[in-house]
Symmetry: D2
Subunit: 276 residues, 4 copies
């Protein structure tokens, strides 16, 4: 007897599997805030080990009492070492099948690091980008989205215009999440590095963990030469994504930790490529 | 000359008001994470002073460069002392008008306190419920939603069934957000207290800040007598809301901080009343 | 019979009051992350209603099994409406007495708002300062500390020096916590407003929730004229506190959300007035 | 010319290196909230890749204006791949030397994963423990501390005693941080796994990411059989550490996310081995 059979032999009911008569379908049932080690593919196909925050849910039919949540962790554990464009797609689909559901949703969010060189000294360090993968699976297919959160410097165009010298600037974060029109093989698809480049180009200057003073001089003047409102940042991102036919739709958000206020300035939009 | 005219006299451009030719409409532009003191109406019409996290955004037409964010804070400051069903509605509409936009959105989130008596000793203390008000205004009208997050005890039906004694239980949070079919006057409408009652009834037992031992005995046994999965909690909330004709639609979520795991169990759904 | 007597009559032991033979004194036992409505005195003696995060702990002697935590909430509820220099002191002392302990510690942390005028337009809004009160009571007396966290703009002196134009700047937070040599009556003592003024003077420019463009011009140039490292900020705070004989000791911290990095710069020190 | 020399040739001053006459020594100056990829040694000597939150500070003498913060990131980048008992010690010492300071402090905090088998089914998954390494270096030596945060189930002894059935229980976290009397080589020293075992034994039952129903039965009854207050948990940790002569001192903390309250219960103490 396996463990589940032993429990039945002991006379214990499988409560989750009993019927439910309240007539309420539940859109998503599952787990959240599970922290798990994962290996994520880089654009060049190599693997990066990191730690992901994991959300996994499935739809629950109106006539069933509950789901067996342990199966979600089993699916995660089986796929955690191969998180790439195709591996993630399989994980989302298997979540649906293993839980015997019509609809599954998996969201991973993890820090992703790239070695970056400072602009003048060329000294290098590991830059952190918060990345996410979100997938939805139904009987008619599985759809995934990839996203990044990229820190940038933004310098206020208004402050520069109306001041005799100086201009307030601050750390900002650019969020881009895109869906691809194709089944996203790595060859044809878009990956984190592509979106990071788009986001950084839209800020006033990139951000680096390690800058020597010659680098600091360069990014200070670069930011002053490229003022950008949050409105400008999200528009420049859309302009860049419009030119990339791998992108079918996008959610774009810019958030500035205003240096002259104790609150943030934000701009966000949803963009979809319309029929061509 | 007012200050804005002085800047023009000095030769400074109003950068936000210049034209934009990128052709990108922005869904939401504004401020977030602004913490502000507010006075919120209770169900009985009296006022409660609390502190709100504030988000205010407007749509930006494709041909305009930016918005004047300071006007958002001006609208907030003018309305912060009268946050009730009608006062909030006016604030959302004025946000749209003051920013000369087609669409505005305001979201407030604040702790809301009710004095509660412990079930056996009747000793009282202030219980905290995180509440939110969200409103959207367009030329054709203004729509608001009210929401609560209510802490409850939940006791696992499976653990109780399969164990010879005991059952794991934990703190959980029930989120309910509802939209009303009518322009929500306080007399006809639903308010925080109503939703808090629904949420508490759906858990295994309510939660109190202050319990003497006789109370602890009571809530311990009450929870053991009323086991509930997150699936059960969201369904019981829907069953209760279905009977309340003031509710047109609802988003419901239950989240358990599982005592046997270091991650959470969640269930969520969107429910809408269909044509009657 | 009161409820506790009823439990004894039922044959239930008061587990917390039993003996313990492990021989381990516990420095602090109590509650944390309790959110409670409080009324805090302003410098002018009027009251401000806000919401506090509450920590209350007492020392537990080695021979006793546990404390009765509900008594902590009872003491809090009795004092929450009168949090001023003397009211808080009484609350800390009563915590110790009510729990029959040799040592109590109470820490409150809450947002505190002051109406501020923008520097050029004189338009006003409510500025938020995170404030804290910490008190320790023993048989030989009760000692309290008051603290503030003040947002400021800081502009980097190095970036200004080495760049042909511009200078990176960012939002920073200045923390000051001071202990007073006297029993702190409000007349003789120091209060939040005093520390807020010291903190703001040490940054490159103050921060306001609401700035019109003429104000933005003023704070932009003020910041450029007053560059300050985190090192400068904490030193300037100490220089100001040294001149205030009401201050016996201080903990000072400055933290900049660097606009050119995705990490923070910090400086902190503990200063004590030496024998005079 | 290297970059620094180029800046001098351009006539730019090294602002940080200028004199300061305010007469204020600063205890700690540096960086915080830097997220960096690191490789951490396991007890068996193998390496685990994870992501660390990094704090690095040095003392600043009263006569110097500032520190060169980029050097902190350089030291981190050079040592990030070899975080073990000796590698970390070298990193702390090099921080002090590279910044030419009398005192350095480095704190790393990262998730650390161990593959764990469920108690009945023996199915395995990766359990997460938040670990930290803290080191201080002075001319007379370098001292390090290691710490863990371990999730456990705790079941309330009072609730069990006074209730006819059931007992409230919840997720809790046990923090242990210890300093070692010896220069901590891996052979002689204590490591994360040792502290995790101590913490888990002190709770009512361990926590696992993946439990089948037979496992859930086992941990439910194990918790009911082993009730523990936060007071009991910290005492049992001290009793275990007292017997381990590798431990010279410890900070111990237990925090329960009470299932019957919306606040936490805590107990904490500092323990030191006294002269033997």
């Amino acid at each position: 007897m396996n463990p589940a059979e032993q429990l039945i032999a002991l006379g214990f009911e499988d409560v989750q599997s009993t019927d439910d008569d309240r007539g309420v379908l539940i859109d998503e049932v599952g787990i959240e805030e599970l922290s798990y080690p994962v290996s994520v593919e880089r654009r060049d196909g190599s693997l990066q080990q990191t730690v992901s925050d994991v959300n996994m849910t499935v739809q629950l039919a109106h006539h069933r009492r509950g789901i067996h949540m342990s199966r979600l962790v089993e699916v995660l554990d089986a796929h955690a070492e191969s998180i790439g464009p195709s591996g993630f797609r399989e994980m989302v689909a298997e979540t649906r099948l293993r839980l015997d559901s019509k609809h599954s949703r998996v969201a991973l969010r993890f820090p992703y690091f790239l070695r970056r060189r400072a602009p003048a000294s060329a000294i290098s360090s590991m830059a952190r980008y918060e990345c996410c993968l979100t997938g939805v699976s139904r009987a008619d297919g599985t759809k995934t989205e990839i996203g990044v959160r990229v820190p940038v410097t933004s310098l206020c165009p208004c402050s520069k215009e109306i001041s005799d010298y100086g201009a307030h600037n601050q750390r900002g974060y650019v969020d881009i999440s895109v869906a691809s029109p194709w089944p996203g093989g790595q060859a044809s698809g878009i990956w984190f590095e592509d979106l990071i480049e788009v986001a950084e180009s839209a800020g006033s200057a990139p951000i680096y963990p390690l800058l020597k003073r010659t680098d600091e001089r360069e990014v200070t003047m670069q930011a002053y030469d490229n003022p950008a409102f949050v409105e400008d940042i999200v528009r420049d991102v859309v302009v860049a994504l419009r030119d990339d036919i791998r992108v079918a739709s996008a959610e774009v958000r810019a958030c500035n930790q205003e240096s002259i206020h104790d609150h943030n300035a934000v701009a966000q939009l949803r963009w979809e490529r319309v029929g061509e």
